[in-house]
């Protein structure tokens, strides 16, 4: 039996006093890929930020157990060091900070957290090279500043690359497909698939089904108005593609009456 990685129980959360998540229940086990789908404004990205601990996203109810610990109590950097990774929808530019330097700092924070010695620049370069090969990334990317002047596609690939190096237990991919052309999408998806292992898991947040042609989920959840209103297997994504979200959200409205 696979181990439970994260258990979200009746989670509600506010942004600036406005309730966005209204009771989320979700359990993700090791080795699983979960897709969270839903129309714009349903709370998908909020869920990602709440899990990552972004300031201003206030948990007002329920609980999140991550590897047996209370996630809400943990600072964002602690969550990261514990293997929780968020691939950002809009990766931020950090001008003048070398990509490799930044990533080594992040990598060493994890190592320190695990009580391991920090890795020097030479050894780290070997790690980087190996992962770059895996993701078919150009060398030049590592010499540039973090996301500075990167195209939309390059930024997303850089997110997946960071994910490869940091080797998280739980990856949350927030709309990684948005703004990608089909070739870039394939590269990103291939990367994610290659990083998949029986001991890690991903939550793939997406608006469109097309990413799920390449990253095949074990479970699909539909988020609407702050709640998961339907869960199913990968076929659910196809149904959504065909029928649109109104098919379920409409039903939900009726059911609520």
């Amino acid at each position: 039996m696979s181990k439970q990685l994260i258990e979200i129980k009746n989670l509600s959360a506010n942004i600036n006093g406005k309730e966005i998540l209204k009771g989320i229940n979700l359990t993700v086990n090791e080795g699983e890929v979960h897709a969270i789908m839903g129309p714009n404004g349903s709370g998908k990205s909020t869920l990602g930020y709440v899990l990552a601990g972004r300031e201003g996203y206030e948990v007002t109810g329920g609980e999140i157990l991550y590897r047996g610990k209370d996630l809400v109590e943990m600072a964002p950097e602690e969550r990261a060091r514990e293997g929780l990774f968020l691939a950002f929808q809009y990766p931020v530019e950090i001008p003048g900070v070398n990509n490799t330097y930044f990533l080594r700092a992040a990598y060493n924070e994890q190592r320190k957290h695990r009580g391991e010695e920090e890795m020097d620049a030479v050894d780290f370069l070997a790690v980087v090279r190996e992962k770059m090969k895996l993701l078919e990334l150009p060398d030049a990317m590592m010499k540039r500043s973090v996301n500075e002047g990167f195209s939309g596609g390059e930024k997303k690939r850089n997110e997946i690359f960071q994910m490869a190096v940091l080797d998280p237990k739980l990856s949350i991919l927030d709309e990684t497909d948005s703004g990608l052309d089909i070739d870039a999408l394939k590269i990103v998806a291939t990367g994610v698939n290659r990083l998949k292992s029986p001991t890690n898991a991903s939550i793939v947040i997406t608006h469109y089904q097309r990413l799920l042609n390449y990253i095949v989920p074990d479970y699909v959840h539909v988020l609407f108005d702050g709640r998961i209103i339907k869960s199913g297997g990968k076929e659910l994504a196809l149904q959504l593609e065909e029928k649109g979200y109104d098919w379920i959200t409409g039903k939900e409205t009726v059911a609520a009456r």
Binding site: R54, V92, G96, A106
Partner: protein, 481 residues
């Protein structure tokens, strides 16, 4: 959002590492300034007549001048009569070698990370150590002498090379130049002198380390660098002072003369005591630095990292007289808590095809106020002169300020002047991004700030660049938590 501000506020609390006082027996003049004091300083230093006359001329001129008010800084008027104009560690006897330097002084510099011990030549840097008003030691003089390089305290240079001093002193910054330069000319007590003969490439970095120790004194040092035809030197300057509740005055003058094909690179890491977090105490740093590219193809490059001082008033400048000469100014200025900085440069293009580059990075945190003030002047004869200026400001928190005052004066139609400016904030989204990769907030801010300053740091000599990065980290300590 208010939560974010609180954490930023916390991050801006900083500790000053160099705030201790050494117990050194000091000879100090009573506070006050008049002609007799000027004469006394000159007598104390056994100066030739010409220098005393020069000082007196400067003093008389200074008395007629008014303190400049145009800088974007606020402070109560300085009472120049309450300052002591000379403080020197008492010498037990004449020093014959570095080994005879007072152990307490040696210890002071060791604590500052400056070794006066030539055996420990780790960084390959020759140091002139100046404490309060006098130079106490200069390392590697013999080795430099082999190359014909003169590197010694200003006082020694006056005695041993009066002809050079007479020729160059005041040739770039005349006594009438400005209020603080005039004051410095009247009362300067020591400093460094450096002479690189024709065609010589200085084999090591030269540096002066300034330390204020005595209380209620002003430090008025003077540095003169003369680079003859085709020579090269890289010069570093560092400074610290104890933590005191009273403001202390530092008014220095640096002059650089670069002849044909000569190159001078002057780097400063300024870390005078900035005052406490409520703005009490700190150094008033009123400095005049200027270099002249006297000959064709000469190059002067100023790099400064200004993290200390309660008030900084400083404009390292270049007069580009020779044709094809080059002036550069790279600056990082950080103001935290109640610090104020009004700093920048002047590039005066006189020769043909002269080029200048200005890269200024201002960082404001706490209630710090940071102003860039720069002038680019292209004279009538400066055909095809070019300038590129870039002034970037970074704000941390919402109680600080960044200001830019560029002045452009072009008198030759072939001149090309470019000015770019930007202002940005350390974003909550940038910090969160780094947090999400396991990097805590303070390290995240340091990383962002260092990235912002990269273009300037890469101009610094290696050891200095590392020190500058650390210093920025310390100066920002506590600024977001």
């Amino acid at each position: 959002m208010s939560e974010a501000l609180d954490t930023i506020e916390e991050f801006v609390q900083s500790d000053y590492k160099y705030g201790w006082v050494s117990n050194i027996e000091t000879e100090t003049f009573p506070p006050g300034l008049n002609e007799d004091v000027v004469r006394l300083i000159s007598a104390k230093k056994e100066e030739p007549e010409f220098l005393l006359e020069w000082r007196l001329k400067a003093f008389r001129h200074w008395q007629k001048m008014a303190e400049p008010k145009w800088a974007n800084v606020k402070y109560p008027p300085v009472d120049f009569q309450s300052v002591s104009y000379y403080a020197a560690p008492k010498k037990k006897k004449q020093l014959n070698s570095l080994d005879e330097v007072d152990p307490e002084l040696r210890e002071t510099f060791k604590k500052l990370g400056i070794s006066l011990d030539e055996q420990k030549r780790l960084t390959g840097v020759a140091v002139d150590a100046v404490i309060d008003s006098v130079s106490v030691a200069t390392t590697f003089r013999k080795e430099l002498h082999k190359h014909g390089i003169i590197f010694c305290s200003f006082s020694e240079a006056v005695k041993e090379h009066p002809e050079l001093i007479r020729k160059h002193l005041g040739s770039v910054v005349p006594i009438t130049d400005n209020y603080y330069a005039a004051l410095n000319s009247a009362v300067f007590s020591d400093g460094s002198f450096c002479y690189i003969p024709k065609g010589v490439r200085c084999p090591m970095e030269l540096s002066t380390y300034f330390r204020i120790n005595a209380e209620n004194t002003g430090q008025f040092e003077r540095t003169l660098i003369v680079a003859e035809e085709g020579s090269y030197v890289s010069y570093l300057e560092g400074c610290t002072a104890p933590m005191r509740d009273e403001n202390q005055l530092h008014a220095a003058v640096v002059e650089i003369v670069a002849d044909t094909d000569a190159q001078v690179k002057y780097s400063t890491v300024q870390n005078w005591y900035p005052g406490d977090k409520n703005g009490k105490g700190g150094i008033y740093n009123f400095v005049t630095k200027r270099g002249i590219c006297k000959g064709d193809r000469a190059k002067i490059s100023w790099t400064q990292v200004e993290t200390g001082s309660a008030i900084t008033w400083k404009y390292p400048s270049c007069i580009l007289k020779g044709d094809d000469s080059v002036g550069e100014f790279y600056s990082v200025a950080l103001t935290n808590n109640y610090q104020q900085a009004d700093t920048g440069t002047k590039m005066v293009h006189l020769g043909k095809n002269t080029r200048s580059t200005i890269i200024s990075k201002g960082i404001s945190a706490g209630r710090g106020q940071n102003s860039y003030r720069g002038q680019v002047k292209i004279g009538k004869g400066a055909t095809n002169a070019r300038n590129f200026s870039q002034c970037d400001s970074l704000l941390i928190g919402d109680r600080c300020g960044a200001h830019t005052f560029p002045y452009i004066d072009v008198q030759n139609t072939s001149g090309q002047v470019e000015h770019e400016a930007s202002t940005s904030k350390v974003g909550e989204d940038q910090i969160f991004y780094l947090n999400q990769r396991g990097i805590e907030t303070q390290d995240a801010v340091n990383m962002i700030v260092n990235g912002f300053c990269k273009e300037v740091f890469r101009e610094l000599p290696m050891e200095f660049a590392v020190e500058a990065q650390k210093l920025l980290g310390v100066s920002l300590e506590g600024s977001v938590g």
